[in-house]
């Protein structure tokens, strides 16, 4: 039995509400009328609307963006591209591919590889082309995570079956039904990545899952496979023990460094469903197109776990679970602690959708009455990241981003434990999220401003250089005409000097002009008497102009 190190904070004894959804096996797929697959920005479509696609056919090419590729979940017609509500907290509509299943079982031919003779590079390529991203919550691209294995820094593999959030039971049910597969895949992956230890962790509120894993490890299913190295760990039920950082701290007694990744500790942490997806991709060549979703909440007629195709509208999914008993006040994607409210029931299921909740109570940030923060400190006690949520709350609310960052706002894992225990019902996590995204926006703006400043300076420099070059060219031309000697003062005239230094020749010419001028003035005075002196002036018409220039 592995000794646990525990982790800071957390809440024990949350009402788990998993009895409903775990009382029956995972229900089979129901194919909806239409599937809506989101098109990530910058992604290229490989199929034109109007074409027929086979199940498993690659629809997008995302080499440019590093987003996961999408495959057609079933055979059907790619009808059109429409703006459809996105599975995103903003509730906005984004372009989505509309797929109309035609009911046939036609699929592209999958090429299996198998675990034997598999290299790490090959595995990474398989995972990437199968479009596998983390299915536990954040949706981090799994092939990037596996990339650490290539650099040889890996020592521990953790398969995360700890479903600490209330209501969600999809991973639990997946382990119960496919425990042998989970154990074997863990052993094979551990052998391939050459890690020292491999853990499969589950929470002690699901003894069935643990029993299934134990049976699988000991049982005849795994004959011939060296599964002895896989350690099964049961964690005491305490939210958020399934969070990656907390799980690592609990198992290994080490904390993921600030701004770091588990890879810095030599740890690779994968969700159970992600592991199964990798296994499917390796053993059957099958891309990721389905997942288990928990449909739960007070307003759902028959809470259950169900296989769902990506792109299935939430409304169809709820319908296949007996529909709603009452009008749900709050439709949530994800769990009650970390999920977000859906703006539309037409929102499709995506790779990270582990749970759909239909609740009778309003979302946390709309609950009344809100009371002021009384600085009771309950949130400090439960914060698993060791932060001061009440301080962060003040800073986030008043826009004091500097102070919020100094209080390590970005180490907040947004688990919602602080908001749950808050006696004033403050939507604390919403404040942190808002502050975080504001800070990120400002940082992005600052970077953009710096680039703009640089480009502006570069342009100014270029324009100045060009001007100078043009001026020099002009001078050369003029200099050619004036045969060299006039060059220096012509240059000064261009650069705008008001009093050009005179060469000897010019100086004498000026002197002569002055003398003539004086003579002319004298003549004028005489002319007023004699009116004959004009002839002297008219012989030198350039003199007057010269004088004007000089003054």
């Amino acid at each position: 039995m592995t000794a646990l190190y525990g982790f800071r904070g957390g809440i024990a004894g949350l009402p788990s509400n998993k009895e409903g959804s775990t009382s029956q096996p995972i229900q089979p797929l129901v194919i909806p009328q239409r599937l809506y697959l989101p098109i990530d920005p910058g992604v290229e479509l490989l199929i034109k609307p109007g074409k027929r696609v086979l199940a498993g056919e690659v629809l997008t090419d995302s080499n440019a963006t590093k987003a996961a590729v999408w495959h057609a979940p079933v055979a059907g017609r790619f009808v059109e591209i429409v703006d459809h509500p996105a599975a995103h907290p903003s509730g906005r509509s984004d372009p989505a591919m509309v797929l109309e299943p035609d009911g046939s079982a036609d699929q592209v031919e999958f090429s299996e590889t198998g675990w034997t003779d598999l290299s790490v590079e090959r595995l990474i390529a398989i995972v990437e082309s199968a479009g596998i991203t983390g299915m536990g919550g954040a949706g981090f691209p799994t092939w990037l995570k596996l990339g650490v294995a290539e650099s040889g820094r890996l020592s521990t593999l953790i398969i995360n079956g700890v479903e600490c959030e209330p209501e969600i039971s999809c991973d639990d049910m997946l382990i119960r039904e496919q425990a042998d597969r989970v154990v074997v895949a863990t052993a094979k992956l551990a052998a391939l990545l050459q890690v020292e230890t491999a853990y499969i962790a589950v929470e002690d509120d699901s003894p069935q899952a643990m029993a299934a894993l134990r049976a699988a490890k000991a049982g005849h299913y795994t004959e011939g496979v060296p599964v002895g190295g896989v350690e099964l760990v049961e964690l005491p039920t305490r939210y958020p023990s399934g969070s990656e950082k907390q799980l690592i701290e609990n198992l290994l007694g080490k904390q993921v460094p600030k701004n770091g990744l588990p890879a810095d500790l030599g740890v690779l942490c994968l969700n159970v469903a992600t592991l199964c997806a990798i296994e499917d991709a390796v053993m059957k060549g099958q891309p990721l197109t389905t997942r288990v979703v928990t449909v739960s909440g007070e307003a759902v007629a028959r809470p259950q776990n169900r296989w769902a195709l990506f792109g299935t509208p939430v409304a169809d999914l709820i319908e296949s679970c007996g529909g709603l008993t009452a009008k749900a006040e709050n439709l949530v994607m994800g769990g009650p602690m970390m999920g977000f409210a859906l703006a539309s029931p037409q929102t499709p299921v995506i790779k990270t959708t582990n749970c759909i909740l239909a609740q009778n109570r309003p979302p946390l940030d709309k609950r009344q009455p809100l009371m002021p923060c009384i600085r009771c400190g309950d949130c400090v006690d439960v914060c698993p990241a060791g932060l001061l949520p009440q301080q962060l709350y003040w800073f986030a609310k008043s826009g004091e981003h500097d102070k919020a960052q100094r209080h390590n706002l970005f180490d907040c894992i947004e688990c919602g434990a602080c908001a749950y225990v808050c006696p004033s019902q403050l939507p604390l996590v919403h404040h942190y999220r808002a502050a975080k995204s504001e800070i990120r926006g400002q940082q992005a703006q600052r970077i953009k401003a710096d680039i703009a400043r640089e480009r502006m300076l570069a342009r100014d420099e270029r324009l100045a250089r060009r001007e100078q070059e043009a001026a020099e060219r002009r001078l050369l031309k003029r200099g050619g005409r004036k045969a060299g000697t006039a060059d220096p003062e012509a240059k000064k005239a261009v650069t705008g000097e008001t009093r050009p230094a005179m060469s000897d020749e010019v100086a004498t010419a000026m002197d002569r002009a002055k003398q003539l001028q004086q003579q002319a003035d004298a003549d004028e005075t005489r002319a007023s008497i004699e009116s004959t002196g004009e002839s002297v002036d008219s012989t030198e018409p350039g003199q007057g102009a010269n004088r004007e220039n000089g003054e």
Binding site: P41, H88, P89, S90, R92, D94, D365, K366, Q368, P369, L370, M371, P372, C373, W394, K397, S424, L426, P427, H430, H431, R433, A434, K436, S437, E438, R440, G441, A444, Q445, K448, A449, D450, I451, A452, R453, R455, M456, L457, A458, R459, D460
Partner: protein
């Protein structure tokens, strides 16, 4: 007497060392205009009446311009400038334009573009590429949304489009209906709930 001599000698030695250090290890101080320039959004739009953010920053530092002439920066920039310069913040001068709700980026309708290069010359950050009689296009990532290319276009094929929220980073909204730090606020929100 001895004490006075020692103290004077000490003062001279220390003074000398300090004086030397001041010359020798001189830190190139950040002039005021640089600091102001850092605060400005670098849109280079010229709405302030100066040809770019740097000239405006120089003008502010020389006391020739007010701090409320930058519409792209909006109130946030004015507040920051006020704090930097130690003066009272004020609302944006409406003569310089209105603060825009969302950032924009220029987009050229390439089917209409005749390749006159006028917009390329107008762009303060060289964010438009193209050549004479060839189609032009905007490098959206480099565009500051300054509008300066719109006016010179002889065929009006440049549009200012709002920056895509997803690309520009969608921001979580601040939760509304929150209490203020006083006890009265709780009563107010309770009243709102009814």
């Amino acid at each position: 007497m001895v004490a006075v001599v020692i103290l004077v000698a000490l003062a001279m030695v220390i003074g000398g060392v300090l004086g030397l250090a001041a010359v020798r290890f001189r830190v190139e101080s950040d002039p005021l205009a640089d600091k102001i320039d850092k605060v400005l959004p670098q849109t280079q739009c010229g709405q302030c009446g100066f040809p770019g953010c740097r000239p405006y920053a120089t003008a502010i530092s020389a006391g020739e311009a007010d701090i409320n002439q930058c519409p792209p920066g909006g109130q946030a920039t004015i507040d920051e400038l006020a704090e930097l310069l130690g003066v009272e913040s004020k609302p944006l001068n409406p003569e310089n334009g209105a603060e825009s709700e969302r950032p924009t980026v220029a987009w050229i309708d390439e089917a209409i573009c005749i390749g006159c290069t006028k917009c390329i010359q107008a762009c303060p950050v060289d964010a438009i590429v193209g050549a004479n009689k060839l189609m032009h296009t905007v490098i959206a990532d480099e565009c500051t949304g300054c509008d300066l290319c719109v006016e010179p276009c002889p065929v009006d094929c440049i549009y200012m489009l709002p920056v895509d929220e997803l690309a520009g980073g969608w921001q979580w909204p601040q939760p509304q209906a929150d209490t203020r730090s006083t006890n009265n606020a709780a009563v107010e929100t309770a009243g709102n709930g009814q």
